[in-house]
Every structure is written in C-alpha cells, then in structure tokens.
Symmetry: C2
C-alpha cells in the first residue's frame, strides 16, 4: 500500500500548465481533473452508473460535515467506508468540514481546541477538533483527506487573516500527528493534504505555502480563494501559491469554479478542482456548453429541437433537445434536474480532458485563449 503517487507527465512550454497522473489504491486520476461534489454521499441527482459511464468522473468529493451528521460514523463504519456504502469504487476525497461548519452550522464557537457548533439539521451540539476530524475522515474512508482549517471570509483584516492562518498551521501539526499515529482504516492507503490559507495578503500566503510545503505531504491544497474576492485577485493569489508550492506534488484549488476559471487556473499550475457549480447551477437551469452558456428556461429554447450539445462525448448531451429540456424545467419535472446535472458534469470532465490533451501537445494556452470567450458567451 504505497501512498498516493503523482507523476508529472508534461509541463507545457511557456506556461505553468501541467499534465500528470495521480495513482491511488482506488485507481488512477489523470490531471488536470475536475472532481464532482458528492455532498452527502451522492452527487446530487446523478446515479453512480451515470457518474462512471456518462460523466466519466475519475474521483468524487464527500463532505465530512454532512456525512458525519448523516448517515453518521456508525453506519459508515459498519458499511466498511463510503466506497462500499455508496458504490463508488474510484477515489474519494473528503473536505475537512471546516468550510461547512462556518457556512452552515449555527452558534459556532472557535478556540484553540477546535470548533463547537450546532447541527443545521437538528441543533445538536458537536465539537470538531483536528484529531476528531482525522478520525472522521479515516472512518469515511477517503483516499484523500483534507486537513482541518479555518477559512477566513473575504475581506478579512490583516490581523484576523494572520491569526487564522497561524491557528490553521497549529491545527495542521495536530492533524499530521494524529494522522501519523492512526492506521488507514479499510486496507487501502489514506492520504492527508494540507491547505494553504492567509487571506489576500501576499506575505501571509507565501508564509503559508512554505509552511504547508514543509510538511512534505503527497499533495497540497489552496483554500480561502473564490470566497467573494475579485476574479483577478483570485488568479493573482493562485499564481503566487503555485510558484511556492512544490512542483512534484499535485496542487488542488478548492471550490473553483466556472469553466473559464478552471482553464485560467490550469494555466497557472493547478491540477485538481472541485465546485458545486455544474450541479447546483444545472438544477437552476444553467447549462454550460461548448458553444456558451444556456439559461434553458428562456422562451427562446421552446422550439429549438437541436440537442443540448453535439460536441460532447456522452449520450445525454447528444440525445435530449433544448426544447425538451426547457419543457422539463418549466413543468418542474425531476428529470430536468438529472439531465442538466449529468450534462454539466460531463461538460466539466470533457473540458479538463481537452485541457490535458492540449497541454500534452504544448498548445494549451493558445487553445485556452481561443475557447474561453466562446464558453463565456450567453446564448
């Protein structure tokens, strides 16, 4: 059971864009990669068969906060971990729950020990500490476990960002100590990725990157971006972090983003992405396509019988018409949510695969510059 391996297959000339391959005990992941978010053990409105065969997902996320509350650790442990519970047999990454505690839970109290909070479901009181979160992620059975961090809001004062970053670093030490003192739970290797914080202050980000890099983890993540700051600032800090974080480890930019965000950040050296956008926006009728963005509820699609996107290599996008999709949304049919989610995820997975292809051909940046204005069009 070796730890996660990262092979840097190719770095494009005149760009930081990289093509690589991550190997885990649940299989390989070609990078750059987009990871669908499976909040409560289900990628919303998509079956595991559709994830395998239509979306072509290689790795999915689980949310520690949600899975801890439902179905809970007792059920997950009895099942033999999340892979066996939900039938997803490729790699799984879990976040640390930190972000959800701050965005969803009530009556949060943070101190050196950890975070006390009340469940958004039943108001029950819970304490997350670095050690407890490691135990939870071990029990969920993630191939990649994220360190427990505090994610400061944007904007944050310098002092708040600095104190928060330092707390995150101390928590990281406790995460690694506990992680190293506990075995992988279900017979395959689990990995721990630390998370860079530091708000939107260059010296803090640099310091955080250096601290995170010193842990020599199998991969590194960048947190606290895409939380409301201007897009150019997000790119600027992503570039800064990519400069500082080691080249021979995968770099994961958490919670990003739109299709064009993803392409720009690949160009800066990011390898892994996750975002609820393709599923959440899909459920609201926004379809990302190779020709631009569609609001499928618009009347203009009522008699457009062309398929959603004939450029995508999956059945759903090439089978159902825009007119039928619009009808499903107007009539509030569940099927609309399903098809939109599958289509958007398939688009995101197609996009990173195309990016990889162009990196390997040393023409990523010019392709990206051509394609971004097309993808951003409102159709």
């Amino acid at each position: 059971m070796p730890a996660l391996q990262f092979e840097l297959t190719h770095t494009q000339q005149h760009s930081k864009a990289r093509a690589g391959k991550i190997t885990t005990d649940h299989g390989e992941i070609e990078t750059p990669i987009f990871m669908p978010v499976g909040t409560v053990g289900s990628v919303k409105a998509v079956t595991q068969q559709q994830l395998y065969n239509d979306v072509h997902a290689q790795i999915i996320l689980g949310n520690t906060y949600h899975l801890y509350l439902r179905p809970g650790l007792e059920v997950l442990e009895a099942a033999g971990g999340l892979h066996k519970f939900n039938g997803w047999h490729r790699p799984i990454l879990t976040d640390s729950g930190g972000y959800q505690v701050f965005s969803l839970a009530a009556n949060r109290k943070i101190n050196e020990e950890g975070v006390m909070f009340q469940s958004h479901i039943d108001g029950g009181k819970h304490l997350f500490t670095p050690e407890k979160v490691m135990d939870i992620e071990r029990t969920i059975g993630a191939d990649i476990m994220m360190a427990f961090d505090e994610c400061p809001p944007y904007p944050s004062e310098y002092k708040y960002a600095k104190d928060s970053m330092e707390l995150t670093h101390r928590w990281l030490d406790r995460c690694f100590t506990h992680f190293n003192a506990t075995p992988s739970k279900y017979g395959y290797t689990q990995n721990l990725f630390p998370i860079v914080q530091g708000g939107t202050y260059k010296d803090l980000r640099t310091a955080s990157c250096q601290y995170i890099a010193s842990k020599d983890a199998t991969g590194n993540a960048i947190g606290g971006l895409s939380v409301g700051e201007p897009m150019e600032m997000m790119y600027e800090f992503t570039a800064l972090c990519c400069e500082e974080l080691p080249e021979n480890k995968p770099r994961y930019l958490m919670g990003v983003g739109t299709p064009w965000n993803i392409l720009e950040c690949i160009d800066l050296g990011i390898d892994m992405f996750d975002c609820v956008m393709p599923t959440r926006n899909g459920r609201n009728g926004m379809l990302f396509t190779t020709r631009g963005v569609i609001n499928i509820k618009n009347l203009k699609w009522a008699k457009d019988f062309s398929v959603i996107d004939n450029q995508l290599p999956n059945e759903v996008s090439q089978y159902y018409s825009k007119a039928y999709m619009r009808h499903l949304f107007v009539a509030n049919e569940i099927l609309g949510l399903q098809l939109a989610s599958i289509h958007n995820l398939a688009f995101y997975l197609w996009l990173v695969k195309e990016a990889r292809k162009h990196i390997l051909q040393d023409c990523f940046t010019s392709w990206k510059n051509d394609v971004v204005p097309v993808l951003q069009q409102r159709l």
Copy 2:
C-alpha cells in the same frame, strides 16, 4: 401502415390468463404488460435510457391533459410528436384527459358538447370535446389514443352512472367519427381504444361492454374501476367486463394497481395495465420487492447493507443497498427518488414478464397464488 395487431399467443388452461403480442408501428409489446406513466412527457425521475435499459419498458403513457397544457400542441407538433420530443421511440399510449379534467382542473362544467374547465396551472379556460381530444391525441402522436369519457366517482347513484355511461357512449360515437375522418399525423398508424364505463352496476357494465365491443376497435379499455370501491368489487367488475369484451382484442384495465391487483386481474383476462403507484409510492420511499414491501425510511434498514432486491434483473436493484437507499431518503437526496422509481418500475416489468412466462407454461394461477402472499408482506 396496418392498424395495431394483437396475437393471442396462449390462454392458460383453467384460467382466463392470456399471453399475447401487440404489434404497432413503434414496435412490439408482449402482454400482459405494465405501462409506466409519463405524465408530462417524462416518466418522473427516470431517464429514457434507464427506461430502455434498466426498467425494460415496452410502452409508456402520456397524459393528454398535462401535455396539452405543457408543452402545448404547438411545440409538440413542431417537434413531430411526442416520440421525437422526448426521445422515447417505442409505443406511447395517451389517456383522453377526461380523468384529469375531473380530478385536477377547477370549475369544471360538463354538458353534451364536452367539458369546460380551468387549468390547474394558470386558471386559463379550456374546452375539451370528443373531437378536440381526438385532435390533441393525434398531435401528441400516440400509437394508442383513448376515447374521451366521463369517469363517475365511487359510489355513484344508478341514475348518475347510467346517464354518464350514455354520455360516454355518445361521446365515443363522436370520437370514432372524428378519428375516422382525420389521418394519422406523423406517418405511422394511430389507434383508438374505447372505454367501458357503467359504475358498479352489472347491467350497466354489461351494456357498456356490448356497446364498446360493437365498435370493433383494435383494443378495448375498462375505466371507472380502482376509484375507491372495495378490492373484491373491482375484481368482480373486471371479471364481468373480461367476459363481455372480445377475446381477440387486448383488454386494458386503466389505473390498476398494486402488484397483487395486477396478478389477480391477469388471471381474469386483462392484458394491459398502467398506474402511478410504482413511481409515486417510490418517491415516498415504498419499495416493492420480490420478498415483500419495504418502507425504506424505517430505522430498521439503517445498517442493512444487502441490496434492494437481488432477484431482479436490473443493475439498480442489485447495486444499491437498503442502508444507502434509506440514507438518501432521510437526507432528502434526489437520487433516492430516482433509484426508487427505477427499482419499482423494473419490479413491475419483471412481474408481468414472470406472469407471461408462467402463462405460457400453463402454471400461472398456482404461481400467482404462491407469490401474492409473499409480495404483500410488509418487511
């Protein structure tokens, strides 16, 4: 373009149970058959790919009332009919909208001409007449169109049931006159099935059967049952109608029912069924299985990691565990609705296929008597 053909393959000894084959321009249907209900052009929460490959559906229903309101005839006609609109390329049957007008619409006013009603969606006023309903079903493009009828409630006074039946018969004449005067719309043959009414009065039911049979349609339907009357009464009137309706035409019992209702009525000579129960009850967490009925929300399934039903020949039923399904329902995940709908429909289609197999082996009734108590168990 021949009209619908019905081949009576085999009638079981010592029973009225029949195995047959219906041939339409969109393909063959092996009977007895269950038809999933695709109300607004979508079988709720199930993709067309899943209907083909997981459910093994051979024919689906569309609701005339719903499709007339949304997406409306202009869109359906522009699409070239419902098959092209929703991508379901096997046979489609449409009801006449009569039942929905009486159960869903507001301010109904019925007279000799037809029914004036207000849409349950926007309150808009509409008039359904036999002629208009024939035009609507032609435009939807159903392979099997149902006649426009009035479905009296249970219980109804004798005079009401008799007047209503006679109105339904006069409307039927108008349906046939208009149907015969108009061509099939999209290059394939459309068929018109008349509907027996007459409430729960034997003389009325007999008279209605004889009137309906006199039309020499390609198939005949029984309406107005399973509307609240005791189950034994439903069986009694189904038996009566099967006696009266011609043997060489398919018999369709509308809106029935539970798995055991279906087996009992197959034994009485019914060939075709439809019901919202597998999808509607599935969305409420009721799973029909080969071992009995499961309320998947019950705590008892929380750690039952056995699959939903290992006897069913479809991936969903053999892939996902009861514990995972319960979790999806408890956490209000859309995926639960999808998987429950696919499983229940696959179970219904398996059930009628097993029924057919046993009819062909002349052992249907004894198999049915063995299996019904098992299917009815609450697990």
